[in-house]
Symmetry: C2
Subunit: 148 residues, 2 copies
């Protein structure tokens, strides 16, 4: 389970280092995303927050998401026509995605071997890898079967 207090502390530290403050609004957004399982988009997040009776403006939601992204609490899964999809990665093991072109299902996976190989490839180029995004598109087991 995610330690929300630690999250709050870590985020506060990040803000401090940048001469910024932990406000109520930021705290509300942080709490919300730390409870998120799975992917989310800014507007749903905004609506969820409103539904709980708390008041944070859309502008602040966007502003806070940018901060959370910079500080590494959340990462961008993909950008679609309808906007950006995020996921919370704080305290969560890194993973990559498979995306079914047919039903839209997203499979998360992790491979130590893959990570190692990427490091090796970076070294060969003199590149210092810091993070990466890998999305494999194709057809999930179910859709593959349905297609004959």
């Amino acid at each position: 389970m995610i330690d929300k207090n630690k999250g709050k502390k870590d985020f506060t530290n990040f803000l401090r280092e940048h001469g910024q403050r932990l406000t109520n609004e930021r705290s509300v957004v942080l709490n919300r995303i730390l409870s998120c399982t799975g992917h989310f988009d800014p507007d749903s997040l905004y609506l969820q927050i409103r539904q709980t009776g708390l008041k944070v403006s859309r502008a602040s939601v966007y502003r806070t998401l940018n901060l959370l992204h910079k500080s590494g609490f959340i990462s961008i899964v993909r950008k679609t026509e309808k906007g950006t999809i995020y996921e919370c990665v704080y305290g969560i093991k890194h993973h990559d995605h498979m995306h079914c072109n047919e039903c839209g299902k997203v499979i998360e996976f992790y491979s130590e071997e893959l990570e190692k190989l990427q490091e090796k490839i970076c070294e060969k180029q003199g590149f210092k890898g810091q993070s990466h995004t890998l999305e494999i598109r194709g057809y999930c087991a179910k859709c593959k079967k349905n297609m004959k």
Copy 2:
């Protein structure tokens, strides 16, 4: 070198299969992207076309880019705040990208080993991989050195 005639033929076939036609406008856009080396964005492409004296509306450029994307002639490199960046991949060997967070440099690379490993990972999930995008972010050799 890319065979533009073959490109035209292949694109026409794709269109036919979807009950669509190869118009002058589409042909102009196709030609332009087949001459593109490197990455490009829709608006620059539009301006380039206008500069050569040819007339294709912005709307048609966007519409054609969508078709070229669906038919696999071009792929999306990344979506930025300023819009989508494409690259022509027709007749070009698949590759992945490293992106320097400091200077913005993009390094293209290809690893057979990486491709194989991904296939293996897909199989394990019963997933049928069709394409993928891998972007490694970090620091290029030069910037790495400058940061000491």
